[in-house]
């Protein structure tokens, strides 16, 4: 996991910062963004190995952001987070190429396990 970069995208600042800190405590390199546009900028400047993104964000929604990411970086791996169950939007996200749809609140251990799965087979 060392040397792998993760981008966390959520409009909930507290959530993002706390989760980022916890992941960093576990030795994971985390970047954060609070909306779709910010996420796209960061991806352009410093492409991460994995994006973990909330689906419900003001402005550009998670799904729209996902679509744009996939447009530019078709191989970019994205895990979607949702407060809803993995519903129709979740399914749409999976269709757009998301790897997984996880429900909030999430267990950090579950997230880390997923991160390992997603990051490992890439290289």
């Amino acid at each position: 996991m060392v040397g792998k970069k993760i981008l966390l995208v959520d409009d909930e600042v507290e959530f993002v910062s706390t989760l980022a800190e916890r992941l960093q405590l576990r030795g994971i390199d985390v970047m954060t963004a609070h909306n779709g546009e910010g996420a796209l900028q960061i991806i352009d400047q410093d492409p991460p190995h994995l994006v973990v993104m909330d689906m419900m964000m003001p402005g550009m929604s998670g799904l729209e952001t996902l679509r744009r990411i996939k447009l530019r970086y078709p191989k970019m791996r994205v895990i979607l987070l949702t407060g809803h169950g993995c519903t129709k939007e979740g399914t749409d996200g999976l269709l757009l190429g998301a790897e997984e749809c996880l429900m909030k609140p999430l267990e950090i251990d579950v997230l880390i396990k997923k991160l390992r799965e997603e990051v490992r087979p890439s290289k």
């Binding site: 909930e12 507290e14 959530f15 706390t18 989760l19 800190e21 916890r22 405590l25 419900m56 407060g83 809803h84 169950g85 993995c86 519903t87 979740g90 399914t91 429900m103 909030k104 609140p105 999430l106 950090i108």
Partner: protein, 574 residues
């Protein structure tokens, strides 16, 4: 068009059914009104036709039936008159063709009598009577010569009228006969009378020539009501006619009477013009009107038959129609209820999903904060009060888990969870679910009666959701039974498309009112600790999986839930 308005008003009045009120009463009213309307529309014209026909036939037939009686009476009277007139003119001819001397000569008279007997049937004897009433000469079977008639009424009458025909009488000859007498006054002023007697047997043959049937009677009476010929039913010759003598009519006339035996009769009669007789024909009314009665009977039969058929058809037609209407309305109502229920569920689902989502975000923050606190406590060496802080953080995390459980259930209710269809063994699913409840069963000594059919076909369905469904139903069953009660779980292969599971308990059961509402969201009998979502979620899930759910319950006896599940899922496997 005021007419149309009136008509439609009547129609609407009869066919409109009050919306309020119990439905079976409404349908009974509708049915009654339809029955009355259809019945009237068909029955009234039929009745009118029947009455008109009846009256018309009656008058026409009565004429048709009574006319032959009149005709036969006229004809027969004519025959009688002809018979009498012929004989009277024969006597008259003899009187005027021969001189007194010739007639007084018995030899000559005998000669004349034998010719007369040959030519005219029925003469018995012949005699010449002088103006003093003494029989001068006589030919015939009796010895009547020199007999004096001057005291007898006919002798005086013939002197006044010139000719005379008597009533029938027995006389000393002792058989019914009549007397005919004709008086001659010669140029010299001398008077004599020729008198002949005629046997009335001929009368009977005239009557028998009328060709009467066995119930009809015909006879002659005289002006004072004495039988002149024997009657079949009312008496012998010379007896008294039991009816009042009908009023004088020389035309054949028909009157209606009751005879001494109490029968209704039709009596046709006619007075003779030149003789004192009345010809009478008596027919029982029943006989006279028999053809009419037959026709009347047939008409009544057709009428009653027709009316019965009409009412039978109308009865069944309205029954079927109203049943159809009722069924259609019930179906519509059921569809409405289903839609209403679905809408209620889906709007509550949306609400629940919204709430869950809104709570999940702050919950996620709490979760992460607590997690971070725990991380910090754990990674900081010799953290002060570590032993006191860790349980607090764990408690927060546990509470978050609980909240997550609630929101996930809410979302589950919102049916937003994905359906994962796989080929599964329902018995296995039930065993898994029962695994959760084994402890409680043991603890409470609840008897689990499993009748899981062994070769139950595998079905395409969602394992997780089925677990939720059966966990819910079994939980309810366990909640309903007393300690030591029985919960029976049975599976069977229902038909080609579906399998079924029933969960039966011998617990407290439900009232009809409760039974009506158990699938409605937020309806609960567990005051205080139920959300009222369990069975409505169960219902929603079963419906979503293409199945159906059935409840039977009796208060105090227990409840039986039956779940039907399709073997093939509409979502397809995968």
């Amino acid at each position: 068009m005021p007419d149309k308005g009136w008509f439609s008003f009547l129609f609407r009045g009869l066919l409109d059914v009050p919306e309020e009120g119990k439905s079976h009463i409404r349908y009974r009213i509708l049915r009654r009104n339809m029955f009355i309307l259809m019945g009237l529309v068909t029955f009234v014209p039929l009745l009118a036709m029947a009455v008109i026909n009846f009256v018309q036939y009656q008058s026409a037939l009565e004429k048709e039936i009574l006319n032959p009686m009149r005709t036969i009476v006229s004809k027969t009277k004519h025959s009688f008159e002809l018979f009498l007139a012929e004989r009277l003119s024969a006597v008259s001819f003899i009187t005027f063709a021969y001189s007194y001397e010739e007639l007084a000569d018995e030899k000559k008279l005998n000669q004349i009598f034998s010719v007369m007997k040959r030519e005219f049937e029925g003469f018995i004897d012949l005699g010449l009577i002088d103006s003093n009433g003494i029989q001068v000469s006589y030919v015939g079977p009796y010895d009547l010569k020199s007999k004096s008639y001057d005291k007898q009424t006919w002798f005086h009458e013939v002197q006044i009228r010139g000719s005379y025909v008597s009533d029938v009488f027995m006389g000393y000859r002792d058989f019914p006969h009549i007397v005919m007498a004709v008086q001659r006054v010669s140029e010299t002023g001398r008077t004599w009378i020729i008198r002949a007697t005629v046997d009335t047997k001929k009368f009977e043959s005239l009557i028998s020539s009328m060709g009467l049937d066995s119930v009809t009677d015909a006879f002659l009476i005289n002006g004072s009501g004495i039988f002149q010929t024997p009657s079949r039913f009312y008496g012998k010759v010379m007896q008294k006619f039991p009816f009042p003598v009908p009023p004088v009519s020389y035309e054949a006339n028909v009157i209606e009477l009751l005879d001494p035996q109490g029968r209704e009769i039709n009596l046709a009669y006619s007075h003779f013009i030149h003789s004192p007789y009345i010809l009478i024909l008596v027919k029982p009314r029943a006989e006279v009107m028999r053809s009419w009665y037959t026709l009347k009977g047939e008409m009544l039969f057709v009428f009653v038959g027709g009316v019965s058929i009409i009412f039978l058809v109308v009865f069944h037609l309205t029954k079927i129609l109203v049943q159809r209407v009722q069924e259609a309305e019930e179906k519509r109502e059921m569809a409405f209820r289903e839609i209403e229920h679905t809408q209620k569920l889906s709007s509550i689902g949306r609400l629940a999903a919204g709430v869950a989502h809104e709570i999940n975000n702050p919950l996620a923050i709490i979760n992460e904060k607590a997690g971070l606190m725990k991380d910090i406590i754990e990674i900081t060496p010799d953290f002060p009060n570590k032993a006191r802080f860790l349980p607090q953080v764990d408690a927060i995390k546990k509470s978050v888990d609980r909240c997550r459980g609630i929101t996930h259930r809410l979302l589950g209710f919102a049916r937003r969870m994905e359906v994962h269809i796989e080929l599964l063994d329902l018995n296995e699913v039930l065993q898994e679910v029962l695994g959760f409840l084994e402890k409680e069963a043991m603890h409470r000594n609840v008897n689990l009666d499993l009748k899981l059919v062994e070769d139950l076909p595998r079905i395409e369905s969602d394992r997780g959701q089925l677990q939720q469904v059966f966990l819910n139903i079994l939980n309810n069953a366990f909640a309903a039974v007393q300690n030591g009660g029985v919960v029976a779980v049975t599976t069977w292969d229902k038909d080609a498309e579906s399998i079924a599971v029933s969960v039966q308990d011998n617990g407290c059961g439900m009232s009809q009112i409760t039974l009506k509402h158990i699938f409605e969201p937020f309806f609960t009998t567990k005051k205080g600790y139920g959300t009222g979502l369990g069975l409505s979620i169960t219902y929603g899930v079963v419906k979503k999986l293409g199945g159906d759910i059935d409840v039977e319950s009796k208060e105090g006896e227990g409840t039986k839930f039956t779940v039907y599940l399709p073997k093939k899922s509409e979502y397809g496997e995968g």
